[in-house]
Symmetry: C2
Subunit: 337 residues, 2 copies
Amino acid sequence: VPATLVDIAKETQTSVSTVSRVLAGGIVASRISKETRERIQSAAQKMGYRPNLIARTLRTRRSNTVALLVSDIANPFFAQIGSLIEKNLHQHGYALLLCNSGEDPQRETEHLQLLNQRAIDGLILVPVSRSKEHLMQYLNEKLPLVVLDRAVDGMDRTVYSDQEQSAKLLCSSMKEHGISKVALVCGPSHVLTHRRRCDAVGDCLEIVEKHEGPASRETGRAAFEAFRLTHPAAIVCTNNILAMGVIEAMAQNPIDPQPVIGVFDEIPMMHLLPVPIICSMQDIEKLAESCVAQLLPQLSGEDGHATPIVLPARVVKNHAFEAWQRRNGNGQATNSA
Amino acid sequence: VPATLVDIAKETQTSVSTVSRVLAGGIVASRISKETRERIQSAAQKMGYRPNLIARTLRTRRSNTVALLVSDIANPFFAQIGSLIEKNLHQHGYALLLCNSGEDPQRETEHLQLLNQRAIDGLILVPVSRSKEHLMQYLNEKLPLVVLDRAVDGMDRTVYSDQEQSAKLLCSSMKEHGISKVALVCGPSHVLTHRRRCDAVGDCLEIVEKHEGPASRETGRAAFEAFRLTHPAAIVCTNNILAMGVIEAMAQNPIDPQPVIGVFDEIPMMHLLPVPIICSMQDIEKLAESCVAQLLPQLSGEDGHATPIVLPARVVKNHAFEAWQRRNGNGQATNSA
DNA sequence: TTGTACGCGTTATCAA
DNA sequence: TTGATAACGCGTACAA
């Protein structure tokens, strides 16, 4: 059984309050006589005292715990972000409670309900539901909150990549290489990220065919099969998972010429895949960093005014794309020459 | 401010204990008169009562929380396992506290110290430290515990893949294709998994050269450069991350003929990589499943006797390997023919 | 069937 | 500089 304040008080012939003060450290501890202070400290050391964080939380309402409620932790994108956030928070003395909604609004709701019973100090949320009202129904108004990856109307503590800029970058890069008509594989339109990307691509390029479904590999595979007849010159996918499905199907049952893949978010080992890929990548490290930067001041009570953080994306082409580019010339190329 | 038992008691002109009993449900609630029971329930409903889990935990010593302390959550292998474990535990009413040690024994220690102050009900641990004593120094002896992925001497609640079987399978499969000498890229030997795999490979194949370092891509890249002169016919890596580094370096600056890659754990998009890969894959779903299966009875107090769960691995070859195989014939092939 | 009273381990208030 | 005491919200033995 672990030692408590009472045990130490008995042992040192003092009172709980004195022990508490000494072990609290800082300014309150310095008001205790050096003699008893050291006696208490050595006793605590000897008895292997560890404060009971549950009791402390019940009293102080602070748990030094931040929750991360994410839509799919198995997605390498969120896994990396989660890893970075955990490391970052741990350095600041916070533990991370990880919850996974799996893009399921009901599971999201369950988690939210449980979370505010748990006295978490803050929440980082990748929302599935899109309405502020629905989310706030279960959350304390005062809870430090950062919305990650997906904007929600009316919520300002937000960190995400600029989907319009990102899509424009991707599309204009494709145009430069002579690609103006594409087939589109889109995740569920009720998920903001997919919807935004889908719309933005539609603004820049001509969409000859479209396939929508859950953001799974299976959807990607099905989409490719559906596109087989049309045989588009390029296929754009609104996230990496969908693209992985497309690429798998394409490798398994190829068509010639091979379509170019345009994709949002990094595909693992992308550079080595024998498929021309042009990819709009988010800055994951900055995303995670901004996230805790947005959260920490709230946790300290310094409630700076809310400003959404919008990060730029960048475009990367893989080796196969460069080869494709050499084969095809520059298309309707740039003004030079 | 959330409603408490006292609030409801006042509202319904009853006492806290009655309210507590009603809201506890089950057998204790049925002993309360239907009249007051319904009055209390409707009041609780109306006031939006949510039990304070912190207070409940302080009283009952149960938090319905399980911690997962993992060595690297950014590794897709652990990300997938984490995702599956979270889903599984959530279904059984447990939340998941995720901690990441990053293969750093000191961070592992920090986490362990914090964890037993947090009244977690159970722990799933991917250990960095190898001694039972060191781990148990910070953990309550009675804490339900499952060691995942890496065996520790003297600890029996364990779930991992059979590294020897796995290595043998991988090696014999390589031998069948005429590969008997390999270069080896090995993660840190103080990590059991790497050490085991390294030793087991050494038992089956002739190791012509060896490179050891942290389990990072960088190590893999450096290893490949170091092997360039020797130009081995095959390179075996003790995990996926190392292999990804090797493959990246190889793609960037190829040598001919291309070495075959033997690797433990799945490489994302492996099947499509233009490099012959033969891979020993763990059964991730069963790993996660067995993990909670090992934990749940302990949580319920049914302390079944401890039996390590050891799962078999299977070998998978990618497309490029099959092509390589066709080019090279069967080597010193099987007895048939 | 219901209520009273205590304890979980800690911090915070007040008085000495 | 210290100590007694009251919370925090909940569960439960004991009493009525």
